[in-house]
Symmetry: C2
Subunit: 406 residues, 2 copies
C-alpha cells in the first residue's frame, strides 16, 4: 500500500456554476479526484448554501457536497461579472452548470460563446429533461423527475397509492452521470485536445434503473400478454424471484432473497424446516414463484418472532442473501464507512462535527485526498480573481463596491 | 451539427466479466462511448442472459444492457480458460468484474496476478459492500443494499411499513459510479501510463443520495434536537418545503413543488385563489411549512377534481414545478426518449422490437454510435480467441471439445 495520495485528475481546472445537488455532486467528485474546482456563486450564495438560514439540518447538504472546492462570487447579470467568468472559462478545461436550459445563452456566456474563445473547453450542462426535446423548458426537481420517469409509479405497495423513492435518486443519478460524461470528455481532450458539449438529463439517467420493471413490460407487449403490475411493494419488480421481500422481525425488518436453489436450502436449514425441500409446492424456483404468497407467509412467520440481529446472523451463516432494513441513524453511525474512508468526521468551523462524504470512486492502491471543508461564500475571491486572473486589488475593490463580486 | 459519430473512448479495450446489472451497465456505457468491450461469460451464459429461460420479460434486461459488446465464453475453472483470460487482460486497458470479493484471487486471476503481467491494467471491481471492510463477505443484491443503506428506511409513508424504492437504485448507482471510476483511471493512464485498482461499492454509491434525509438527521444531532422522521411519504425528506407532495387528480397523481414565493404565486393564480397570498397562514414559506397539512389539503382539493393533463397544463403555464406521476407504459412509449436518441427501437433477431437504451452521457456536438444488439452466447469466440489472440482453429477445436470455450 503506497502512502501516495490519489489525484487522478490533478491539473484539471473546473469552473463550477452548479447548484443544489445535481451538478455540485458531479463537481465534488471531480474535486475529490484531484481537480481544481472553482465554485462560482451569486453574491448571496447558491440555494443550497442559503438553506442554512432555514435550519442547520436543511443546510447540512451544502457542507456534504462542497468540500475541496474554491468558492468565489460573481454577479452574472453585470457585464464585468460575465467578463470575469469568460476569463475563468478561457483557462479552464471544464465548465459545469445546471441552470434551466437557455439561461447561459441568454446571459451571453453559453456553450457557443465560451467555446468560440476556448475551443478545448468541455461545456457540461446538467438538467432535468435535457437541452433539447419536448420537456426542455419544464422546471425540474428530484420529485418531479421521479414522477416523470416512472420511479414513483414503480414504488410502493400495489394496494396503496404511489410513493416516491426516499433517496433523491434523480438528482444523484443525474449528478454521477454528469460526472461520467465529463471525465469521458476529459479523456478525449487529453488525447486529441478536442472539447465537447455535454447534455446530461436526469430523466435519461433514471430510466435505465427501471430495468426490472421495464423488461417485463416490454416482454408482455411483445408476447401480447397483460402488462405486469406497476409496483410490487418489496417484491422483485418483475415478480420473478421468491423468496424476495422485506419481512417483519420482532424489532424491525429484514430483506431476504433466494436467487439460487442453494439459497433456498440455506434458508430452510436456518428455519429448521428441512421438509420444505421435498414439498412439491416449494421444491423448485418456478414452484416457489407460483406459491409466492405462501412462501412469504412461511418466511414471515419465522422472522417475525425473532430479533433482526438473530435472523441476520442465522441467514448470513447459511449463505442466504439478506440485510437488515437499517434506520438512517444506524447507517450514518456505521463504522463501515469510516473503515473505507467513505465518511470522514470533520469538525466544520462554526458548525460542529459533520460526517462529510468522500468519493465512492475508490482507488484502493492509493490514499484518499484529505477533506477540506466547504469554504465560506466568496472566500477565494482574492486568490482567484487577483492571483489567478491577475486583476489588481484596486480593481477588485471597485468591483466589490459595484456588487460585481462580494 | 457534425455528422461525425461520438467515440470518445475509441481504442480502449475492456475485458468485461460483469453479470446482472451493476458491472454490465458500466461496460454498456463504455461500449457506447466507443470502447471495445469483450464480454466474458461462463459456458452456460451469465445469470442475466439465462433469465430468458424463465420468461421473455425477465430476460429483456439482458438485451437492454449488452448492446455493442463482443460476447465470448470461458471456463474459468479450467487452467486453459484462465490462460486465455490472462492473455486478454495482457492486451486490455481495463478489466471489470463484479463477483463476490476474493473470487478472482482464489481463481488466480485477481488484481495482483493480472497487474504483475500488465502493470498499466486498470482492475475495476464492483461489489455490494467493497473489497475491504466488515461487510465484504456479505452477499449483495439491489434489495439487500437498499436495506443496508437506509434507502428502504427513507421510503414510504410514515404510518405504513418501510418499502423499497422501485428502481434498482443500488445496482445502477453502483454501476454508474463504477463507470466514473474506470474513466477517471483511464484519464490517469492516458497521461502517465499508470494502471489502478478500483473498488466501487454499491453501499458507498447509494449513501450520498440520502442527503435530504441525512442532513436534517446530522443537524438535529449537532443541535441536540429530536431526530427527524425516517420517512415522509411524498413530502420533502427534511420536511423543509411546502407545497411539496404528490397530489391525487381525477385520473392519477401529480407532483407539485413550490420552492420560491414566485412558485406559490403561480399556484394560487392557477387555483384561482389570490386571497391566499395575503392570508398570514400561507403568506411566507416558513408559514406554509408550519401549515403543511392545511396546504396539502388545499392543493389536493383543487387537483383531485380535475384530470392530470389539465392540472399539468395550468401549472406549467404558471411556472410551478410539477410533473404527472406517469405509468411505466407511458414512460417507455414517450417520444421524448426517441427525440434525444436515449431509446432506440431495434428489431432484435429472435425477439422482436425492443426499446434498447443508449447512453445518458450525451455528447450533443456529435451523432450517437449506432446500436448493435446483444450478441449470442460465444458468438465472438473465433474472432477474439482466434483472430485477436492468434490461437489456431485446431487449438480452439480442442478447447471446445474440452469445455474450455463453447
Amino acid at each position: 500500500m503506497s502512502a501516495e495520495v490519489s489525484r487522478p485528475l490533478e491539473g484539471v481546472t473546473v469552473v463550477d456554476l452548479g447548484q443544489i445537488y445535481n451538478a455540485p455532486y458531479a463537481t465534488l467528485l471531480l474535486a475529490l479526484a484531484g481537480a481544481e474546482v472553482i465554485k462560482v456563486e451569486p453574491l448571496d450564495g447558491e440555494l443550497s448554501r442559503t438553506r442554512r438560514r432555514i435550519s442547520l439540518g436543511s443546510g447540512m447538504a451544502f457542507y456534504m457536497l462542497n468540500s475541496n472546492k474554491r468558492c468565489v462570487t460573481l454577479n452574472l447579470k453585470d457585464e464585468r461579472g460575465k467578463e470575469l467568468l469568460r476569463e475563468l472559462a478561457d483557462r479552464a478545461d471544464v465548465l459545469v452548470e445546471n441552470f434551466r436550459p437557455g439561461v447561459m445563452d441568454r446571459l451571453g456566456i453559453g456553450a457557443e460563446a465560451l467555446r468560440a474563445r476556448n475551443p478545448r473547453l468541455i461545456y457540461a450542462a446538467g438538467s432535468g429533461y435535457g437541452q433539447t426535446g419536448r420537456y426542455k423548458d419544464l422546471p425540474a426537481m428530484d420529485l418531479a423527475v421521479q414522477a416523470m420517469s416512472g420511479a414513483i409509479a414503480s414504488t410502493g405497495h400495489p394496494d396503496e397509492g404511489p410513493v416516491k423513492a426516499g433517496p433523491a435518486l434523480s438528482d444523484f443519478l443525474g449528478g454521477i452521470h454528469l460526472y461520467g460524461a465529463i471525465v469521458t470528455a476529459l479523456f478525449q481532450q487529453a488525447r486529441s485536445g478536442r472539447g465537447a458539449v455535454l447534455d446530461v438529463a436526469m430523466l435519461d439517467s433514471v430510466y435505465p434503473s427501471l430495468m426490472s420493471n421495464a423488461g417485463p413490460f416490454v416482454g408482455a407487449a411483445i408476447e401480447g400478454g397483460p402488462p405486469p403490475p406497476e409496483r410490487t411493494g418489496n417484491r422483485q419488480g418483475g415478480l420473478a424471484e421468491s423468496p424476495y421481500n422485506v419481512y417483519p422481525t420482532k424489532d424491525g425488518h429484514i430483506a431476504v432473497i433466494c436467487v439460487t436453489d442453494q439459497h433456498w436450502v440455506g434458508l430452510t436449514e436456518a428455519m429448521g424446516r428441512p421438509e420444505l425441500l421435498t414439498d412439491p409446492v416449494y421444491s423448485t424456483k418456478p414452484a416457489r414463484i407460483r406459491a409466492m404468497d405462501a412462501v412469504d407467509e412461511l418466511v414471515s412467520a419465522w422472522t417475525s418472532v425473532q430479533p433482526t440481529d438473530e435472523v441476520f446472523d442465522l441467514l448470513r451463516r447459511a449463505g442466504v442473501v439478506c440485510a437488515p432494513a437499517r434506520s438512517l441513524g444506524e447507517v450514518i453511525a456505521d463504522p463501515y464507512f469510516r473503515e473505507r474512508g467513505m465518511i470522514v468526521d470533520v469538525d466544520v468551523p462554526g458548525v460542529g462535527p459533520v460526517p462529510l462524504i468522500h468519493t465512492p470512486l475508490y482507488f484502493s492502491d492509493r490514499d484518499r485526498l484529505p477533506l477540506d471543508p466547504a469554504h465560506e461564500l466568496g472566500q477565494d475571491n482574492d486568490a482567484v480573481f487577483g492571483d489567478l486572473l491577475g486583476h489588481p486589488a484596486e480593481v477588485l475593490g471597485t468591483y466589490r463596491a459595484a456588487g460585481v463580486i462580494s
